[in-house]
């Protein structure tokens, strides 16, 4: 039997944010080779804010002033083992840097080579990456005072009105025990559910607990259910051609109440039963693939992995009265 791998995936969300009247010029400045702060009363704040932190009153773009390019380290830590989100993949410092002309510190990275090159009060100076998009990651700092060479700037580039930030978290974990037994069952063409010790109802696929009675379930509660069942609800999907869509023709997704189960399998894919003939109450049976394998399972799916079946076919039995399965519409 094939081994079931641990779960390993990255959940990502692309964020786009409008930058506004102060952060926009600040990010545009980083792209174009200068660092801006805002004059608020008798002090200069960098990174700049759209408001006076003392009273929330608006601070407009007329208050932007250039600061740096060098500054003084007022606080720091040495990152011995960078995470995948850090700007360097080698040890570096995060520091609070008070840029010349500013009265507050900015958090940023210092590429210092060694912790021995870091100290409170040291001088650092900005460096501009060759590739700059209008992000705080366009720049970094190095020890010293030497002003950077003026970076090449596209004079026609639009100001930065939108910033993009792709966030993501890598998730790695073993399959949970109930989930592993369910998937191992599928590899052997068996559908394993769990019978609640509280009320005897059989959950397929199980989530490892009975939510109605608040009872965790264990391997002792595992039961095998039939590959035959009754359609309890369905919908016809008409594929919209969005980016990444691979479907072109309409198809059916239905829920099936397997014989011996008290919960339905959702999202069952039907390709070769005409929609005109399809109905709630229809009896179906699974047609397993000869060679079942999957490598993208997780602890979260509540259906039956599509890769285990060729199709679902009619059993030839008479339809079940829809009234008898109306409790199982979902």
């Amino acid at each position: 039997m094939a081994q079931l791998p641990d779960i390993d995936f990255t959940l990502e969300y692309p964020y786009t944010r409008t930058t506004g009247p102060i952060i926009g010029p600040f990010l545009t400045g980083l792209r174009d080779g200068r660092i801006l702060g805002t004059r608020v009363g008798d002090r200069v704040i960098c990174p700049p804010l759209e408001y006076d932190p003392a009273d929330g009153s608006t601070v407009g773009p007329e208050n932007l002033v250039e600061v740096g390019p060098a500054g003084t380290v007022e606080g720091w830590t040495w990152v011995a083992e960078p995470t995948s989100k850090h700007p360097f993949d080698r040890p570096f410092a995060f520091a609070q840097i008070r840029l010349d002309g500013a009265d507050t510190t900015m958090l940023h990275a210092v590429d210092a080579g060694s912790i021995d090159n870091m100290s409170t009060g040291m001088r650092v100076v900005v460096r501009f990456n060759d590739e700059r998009v209008g992000s705080v990651t366009d720049v970094y700092f190095v020890p010293g005072e030497d002003a950077p060479d003026a970076p090449s700037v596209d004079a026609d580039a639009e100001p930065v009105g939108i910033m993009e930030h792709l966030i993501g978290v890598r998730i790695r974990e073993p399959l949970q025990p109930f989930r592993k037994r369910f998937l191992e069952g599928l590899l052997q063409k068996k559908i394993i559910g769990q019978r609640s010790p509280a009320d005897g109802k059989v959950h397929v696929p199980s989530r490892g607990y009975d939510a109605i009675n608040r009872v965790p379930m264990t391997e002792d509660d595992d039961v095998e259910v039939s590959g035959r069942g009754t359609v309890t609800s369905y919908t016809e999907i008409t594929p919209i051609q969005y980016h990444g869509q691979t479907e072109t023709e309409p198809y059916i997704r239905c829920s099936v109440l397997l014989d011996g189960a008290d919960t339905t399998i959702g999202g069952v894919d039907i390709r070769d039963i005409p929609i005109e003939e399809f109905k709630v109450g229809m009896r179906l049976q699974i047609v397993w693939r000869d060679d079942i394998s999957f490598d993208d399972e997780d602890n979260r799916a509540y259906g039956l992995n599509e890769s285990v079946y060729e199709r679902w076919e009619r059993t030839g039995e008479p339809d079940v009265d829809p009234d008898l399965v109306k409790e199982h519409n979902f």
């Binding site: 990152v79 995948s84 989100k85 507050t104 705080v136 990651t137 490892g208």
Partner: protein, 357 residues
């Protein structure tokens, strides 16, 4: 002087917690279920007797959008509950429940905090709490800002590396008596100082070990509380405050938000026998002691605190539970629980708990 509760006063009438698991192999829902079943069982009530339930958790940790919705299964999803959620530590869920009960129309609320942080690297999640424009893209995570904060404390002469190691040694020694702790035992300051730096001047042991776990408690209005337990623990003060997201505008060697929350909660109105502090980085205890005005006569983190086990999103609520347990058992008559959120103690909640009839 014993606290004399009024009609609108609210007490903790039951608590439950799981161990801080380095990795729990089942669903987060089951962690919650274990807590809730024990909580209701000990109180001798049914879920239907609870007028309001609220949970604190973080979907990013388990990489499951809307995980907080399935977490309701652990609290009992049927029949439908009157329910709320905060994407924060369970201590902030308690704050909402405490406000809710003061409306007077219901008399019992259940509060849950839970998290499974083992599937991810929490540092790669919680930098997203920082300013999304100028800090988060740097991946500047709470451990990194904690390192900067610890350095600031040392530079200001408010602590030494040995002082920080002393916090860890005391936490681990205290945790030996806590069956829910993840790390415990005797370790010398010299041994700790011999370890390599991680986020210098912090070392790996100065950072709380992330855990999977859940915690829950029941609160009730005065008259119902007296029916449910012989040892109600009264919430006599609860406040929380937040500081700027712009670290350059903060004094990292102090915690003004904790000081304000402590004043709001009335920490200084009586002796503090015990305090449980949400110290996910060892040096934070030094800052918090000063901000809370705690002296040497207050026992700090007798459970071992978060440095002995950090079930993220339940850790702050666990501080409240650990103080409540000691008051209910008669080991203390008045205590302070603290919870923190954000990087470098950006947001702080202070809860004063007292014994009383």
């Amino acid at each position: 002087m014993a606290f004399e509760p009024q009609e609108n006063d609210i007490a903790i009438v039951g608590v439950a917690q799981t161990a801080a698991h380095a990795r729990f192999d089942g669903p987060e829902v089951v962690l919650i279920m274990e807590c809730v079943n024990r909580l209701l069982g000990d109180a001798g009530i049914e879920r239907d007797d609870v007028g309001f339930t609220i949970a604190g958790s973080c979907d990013y940790l388990s990489g499951m959008p809307f995980a907080f919705v399935s977490n309701v299964d652990g609290m009992g999803a049927w029949p439908p509950v009157y329910e709320s959620h905060v994407e924060m530590d369970g201590a902030w869920a308690l704050f909402e429940a405490w406000l809710r009960l003061q409306m007077g129309d219901i008399d019992v609320a259940m509060v849950v905090g839970s998290g499974k942080s083992s599937p991810c690297n929490a540092r790669e999640v919680f930098h997203l709490q920082a300013d999304p424009y100028v800090v988060a893209p740097l991946g500047l995570d709470p451990d990194a800002l904690a390192g900067i904060q610890a350095r600031a404390l040392i530079d200001a002469g408010k602590a030494t590396e040995a002082d920080i190691a002393d916090v860890v040694a005391r936490s681990r020694a205290a945790a030996a008596a806590n069956p829910n702790a993840q790390v415990a035992g005797s370790v010398s300051i010299d041994e700790l100082l011999a370890a390599p730096y991680d986020m210098a001047p912090l070392r790996a042991h100065d950072v709380s070990p992330k855990a999977d776990g859940a915690a829950a408690l029941l609160i009730a209005r005065r008259d119902r509380a007296r029916e449910l337990t012989d040892n109600p623990v009264w919430i006599t003060g609860l406040d929380h405050r937040i500081e700027s997201h712009h670290a350059g505008l903060r004094d990292l060697t102090d915690s003004e938000s904790t000081r304000l929350a402590a004043a709001g909660a009335g920490v200084a109105d009586g002796a503090v026998d015990v305090a449980e502090l949400h110290t996910t980085h060892a040096h934070e205890e030094i800052i918090l002691r000063a901000a809370l005005g705690l002296g040497d006569d207050t026992q700090i983190n007798p459970s071992g605190g978060p440095l002995a086990g950090d079930p993220v999103m339940a850790t702050g609520l666990t501080r409240i539970i650990e103080v409540a347990k000691r008051i209910a058992a008669g080991d203390a008559s008045r205590g302070v629980a603290h919870a923190a959120s954000g990087a470098a103690l950006q947001q702080n909640l202070v809860c004063v708990l007292q014994e009383g009839a």
